[in-house]
């Protein structure tokens, strides 16, 4: 099934929303695993978004200009004895696209809604 150009799918909306939540907490940039954890937390999902699905969505968002990415300074990664991270950041276009997507949702609620609650 082909998607309409310019339309955000639910996962992309979740990624952009989670990135803004992280930014409000002081993390302006995020890497794949971090955003997967944040999306899982916000949606109260059982498991993290699949590798292929997540990185394909990040790739799509970046190509659409809604995210931008850079590779972390190798010195920092070496200092912490871990591989380099690819750090993403939501662009102004990304914020606008998210606002539009949320406004066009039937219930029009600009908040992440848990799919499941742990009661």
């Amino acid at each position: 099934m082909r998607r309409k150009p310019g339309l955000l799918v639910p996962l992309e909306i979740s990624i952009l929303e989670a990135s803004l939540i992280l930014r409000s907490r002081g993390a302006a940039e995020f890497h794949g695993f971090l955003i997967a954890k944040e999306v899982k937390k916000q949606e109260a999902a059982r498991r993290l978004t699949a590798h292929g699905t997540l990185y394909k969505a990040l790739d799509r968002l970046e190509k659409a200009g809604l995210l931008e990415s850079r590779w972390e300074d190798p010195g920092i990664a070496a200092q912490e004895h871990r591989p380099r991270r690819r750090l993403y950041q939501t662009t102004t276009a990304g914020e606008k696209a998210l606002a539009q997507a949320l406004a066009s949702q039937p219930d029009g609620q600009p908040q992440l809604r848990p799919r499941r609650t742990n009661v």
């Binding site: 498991r47 699949a50 590798h51 292929g52």
Partner: protein, 205 residues
């Protein structure tokens, strides 16, 4: 067992990533592999910090399994300049790998859990036999295809030979000599692939 499962899941995702990015443009290939390596490192750290290695192993396994179709779709979309042969073969083999590795993983886990609980294997012998035959056929198939395409795509071919050899080696552990020969040949293929890739990267730059 916990660490073994975790290592297995990590190796599975790493091998899979190398498989579906094989033959793509160097920048694209290196970026995706590095990103997945980083993601797996975070998983591994979480597993060792929290001590819940089995759960993390399953998380990794399911993230891989559920995302594999998207990986293949991404490869298809990214491999615009590749020939149909190089676009198609890894995709078909990728599908086969999902089935075989998934079956092997499930069988190992189920059999092991049941063995721990009741000190006996509960999976029927004929099912295990069918699984072994499937795995053996796939292993030998990978080796044969790997040797067949060793000259054309040495990197990918080596990966196939190693995967096939390990599968066959696990099933028929007494076949040490062919296993060592296959691994040696694969090492040569990887070395050759590395040289070809280096030349290609230099020409791209």
């Amino acid at each position: 067992m916990n660490t073994f499962l975790l290592r297995f899941a990590l190796a599975l995702v790493r091998s899979w990533t190398r498989l579906y990015t094989a033959g793509l443009a160097p920048t694209l290939r290196h970026a995706r592999r590095a990103e997945i390596d980083c993601d797996l490192w975070e998983h591994e750290r979480e597993a060792f910090d929290s001590g819940v290695r089995t759960r993390v192993a399953f998380d990794i396994f399911f993230r891989w399994l559920l995302g594999a179709p998207d990986d293949l779709a991404w490869r298809w979309a990214s491999a615009g300049q590749l020939t149909i042969w190089r676009k198609t073969v890894p995709v078909i083999l990728g599908g086969l790998t999902i089935c075989v590795a998934g079956m092997a993983f499930a069988a190992m886990v189920i059999d092991n859990i049941q063995y721990m609980q009741e000190s006996k294997h509960i999976i029927p012998g004929d099912v295990l036999m069918a699984l072994s035959i499937t795995l053996a056929a796939t292993g030998f198939g990978f080796i044969l295809i790997g040797f067949g395409i060793m000259k054309r795509v040495p990197g990918f071919a080596s990966l196939l030979v190693v995967t096939g050899s390990v599968t066959v080696g696990i099933l028929f552990f007494w076949l040490i000599a062919p296993l060592v020969a296959a691994v040696a040949l694969s090492a040569y293929g990887l070395y050759k692939a590395g040289r070809i890739r280096k030349q290609r990267d230099v020409s791209v730059v």
